[in-house]
Symmetry: C2
Subunit: 311 residues, 2 copies
């Protein structure tokens, strides 16, 4: 029940933000890397990353509703890193957090089914059907068209999961293709219209469906336009903090109840200790302070408490 669960957690905690768990070994608190043990450098770094993530989850799960581990960070630590991703997903869920796997996956036909099995569904093995990474949600790249998204939507319905389709990303060159006029409207609006169709028949108790969208805080005008175009689409909003977007920019993502979006911060929270000139021993405390500051910034930009209004 990912979309309704995510929204309920946001209301409970009065915090529409998500912690991007994007561990970068060269930016981890030095003592974690030094103290980590493993048979090889990848296993050792993966152990450090796991300890880091678990400490952040322990320290923030009572104030932040969700985490977004970025697959690339784990894949650069080989299969040992992918195991750290798996352990992180399970641990965050055990602490009540919603887990958005940020993989930007997308492929066709049977291959897409395999990705959907891996992140949202189950794999059939030796007469059993087994959950694999079993995240609550996955980010999806829709360049391949509907049959590159349909297997994910199917798993969303079957296992009560969620996807976030890339519409307008937060990076400087996102306009290169996404903003190009495609038969009269920007490409991202064509993808938005498709996402709206895929979202049909999945709308939950708060009016939002299982097929969400990624829209960057760094493009507040497009964000406002997409909010108006897609009243049932829940947004995942990157670009806050290190990428330059602030609470005011992100505010366009929310509806009149303060619902409709979660705003991600990764480096802003993860690297708070180093920005404050600390030695890394206090990384959880620094992260918590920054997460609370971000929460207050977002609620202030919304202008009122997030309402618990359901359908």
């Amino acid at each position: 029940m990912s979309v309704d669960k995510l929204i309920a957690r946001i209301i409970d905690l009065q915090n529409p933000s998500v912690l991007g768990l994007d561990p970068n070994p060269s930016a981890l608190p030095p003592h974690l890397m030094e103290e980590a043990k493993g048979d090889n450098p990848f296993a050792r770094a993966a152990a450090a990353v796991t300890a880091y993530n678990f400490a952040l989850i322990d320290g923030l799960c009572d104030i932040v509703p969700a985490v977004k581990p970025q697959l690339a960070c784990y894949e650069q630590l080989r299969y040992e890193g992918v195991k750290a991703f798996y352990d992180t997903v399970a641990y965050a869920q055990s602490k009540g957090m919603v887990v958005i796997a940020d993989g930007k996956r997308g492929d066709i036909g049977s291959t897409c089914d395999y990705y959907a099995n891996a992140f949202l569904g189950e794999t059939a093995l030796f007469g059993e059907s087994l959950p694999v990474f079993d995240a609550d949600a996955l980010t999806v790249n829709a360049y391949l068209g509907s049959d590159g998204v349909a297997p994910f939507v199917k798993r969303c319905k079957e296992f009560d999961k969620m996807i976030f389709v890339l519409l307008k990303t937060s990076n400087p060159s996102s306009g290169e293709f996404q903003d190009k006029l495609l038969e009269g409207a920007p490409l991202y609006e064509a993808v938005a219209a498709a996402a709206d169709r895929w979202n049909e028949e999945t709308i939950g108790v708060y009016g939002y469906g299982k097929v969400g969208a990624v829209v960057g805080a760094t493009y507040p005008e497009q964000l406002a336009r997409l909010r108006a175009l897609l009243p049932h689409t829940f947004f995942l909003v990157p670009g806050y903090g290190a990428q330059g977007g602030g609470g005011r920019d992100a505010a366009a993502a929310f509806d009149e109840n303060g619902l409709g979006a979660v705003v991600n911060s990764s480096r802003g929270i993860l690297n708070a200790w180093s920005k404050k000139g600390l030695d890394g021993r206090d990384f959880v405390k620094a992260a918590r302070e920054e997460a609370l500051r971000m929460r207050d910034d977002l609620i202030s930009a919304i202008g009122h408490p997030i309402a618990a209004k359901s359908l």
Copy 2:
């Protein structure tokens, strides 16, 4: 030296094809699944997949120049499956095969750097810089624009690797966005023009560069047009065999020397044993026969031997 090495292998073997190593546990020869050992179902299935891949590599490395493992197949077997992917890459390379990791990755900024480290480059850990999965090439989704591709191009230059950018994919709904007219030309041509720019300054001895493109055999007209538009872009052509494309359809991918593309077949070769009604013990023999048939079909469609003409 992936692009030149790939072309040299194609000329040596007179075979412009790539074996898609897309193991599906439910389609594996039954004895491999039954005989595999592991602590849990994922480890056991991963052991079966590894044995399967190694046998196919042993049996086909003298006739097929390259393999294309599809990440989704391995990810649906958890981190144990990702280890099987790692082992497969290393084993195929040890037998002289070029390895194209089919991950369709793409992200922004630092995250894209991490994917590039994982598949093509190195990760800095504990004072060392270590190769990770270390494939020869990676498929890339460019929806996020140039800064979602630049880190991959950088690794191609630094580590002599290759990428294949998705232009026109082989699936039925690929036209949904890719064919839409974007300021007068289809979206895939806009991506093609960008791929051509990214390819500059990477052209090797045969006239092809490190930034290739994915163009489906199921759309032969678009394939012919892109071949003409992109004289220095090496194509990875899916859609042959199980997806409906034949040698004649794929022929449009080649230049007048019979160079310029590799054509992928996955299920056509992998499932040859079951299509012939065999029990699976002869899966390598059946795969080899189908790989030879495909080679002959492609050479016949080209109409002459592949020329060794270099610049």
